[in-house]
Symmetry: C2
Subunit: 165 residues, 2 copies
């Protein structure tokens, strides 16, 4: 049995499952709910939305899909913590970019061959990859899936308690 | 290149990374901190600790490692929501069992051959597995890694704000 395509399916299924769950949550939450902190003194929903867009957008160069679509999000949503003030980007734009970035990744994912998934991602040198062949593109997606899941676990606190878990 | 051992390493590395992070957090948090809700009206730390022990313990039968070590945790920590009262188990016992269950899994993981990781887990029938060969033991570990990460993202809110993120 050739397990390589199976492994790609396992990792991508997990990615798409968590993206879909997060997407449904963002659709459900109002702009007003997103402006609230997920827990007292913690990040606001809108910051985590921008953070996830920025982190997913940076998967493009790492996976060889091209430059980030919204490089201006790097400073406010990755380098800097939540200022709890207007971040210079509207919630509506972040909502649109969340869909745009994930949909662009999905297009690129669908074009990648099984072999390509087991090639290095661009933050690993050829020399390091020879010693650590697990640092491939599929592994990057698995790591980002866990990153997303961690923040999704926080974002569900923005739901009203009747429907949250 | 035979990528199967690489795939097993990718999935297990992710599991061990998240177990270690959670383990460090539980070590850092006092019993008093664990008795607090992770966010207003949400689960207490001690409930999530019991929940993670119970869910990881149930990986044993699913992966063919034997019966759960603490089946009595299933009702209070998986079937039922957090009662916000004494759950009939001390925090200290839950702390010990968290280490016991994960360490037992690690022992069993280390004995599993690469081929065995791509065999079905016990909640999938042979018939379904023939159609859906991605529902293997390694996939179960990947799913449980995401489950753990989701709750770890919530548990870090129990840290004092100076050190939390």
């Amino acid at each position: 049995m050739n397990t390589e395509p199976i492994m790609v399916k396992m990792a991508l299924d997990a990615w798409y499952t968590q993206v879909k769950r997060t997407d449904e949550l963002f659709t459900e939450l109002t702009d007003e709910q997103l402006l609230k902190e997920v827990a007292p003194g913690r990040n606001r929903g809108v910051y985590l939305l921008g953070h996830l867009v920025a982190v997913h957008d940076r998967m493009r160069p790492l996976l060889g899909f091209g430059e980030p679509l919204h490089p201006e999000l790097y400073a406010p949503f990755i380098e800097q913590a939540d200022t709890k003030k207007d971040m210079g980007t509207t919630t509506n734009d972040l909502r649109l970019w969340w869909k745009e970035v994930n949909s662009g990744l999905a297009d690129n994912f669908s074009k990648l061959s099984t072999d390509a998934w087991f090639q290095r991602h661009s933050s690993v040198s050829e020399e390091d990859f020879a010693k650590e062949p697990h640092r491939n593109k599929l592994n990057l997606v698995m790591n980002r899936t866990n990153h997303l899941t961690s923040h999704l676990g926080q974002l569900i606190f923005l739901r009203t308690k009747e429907t949250g878990s």
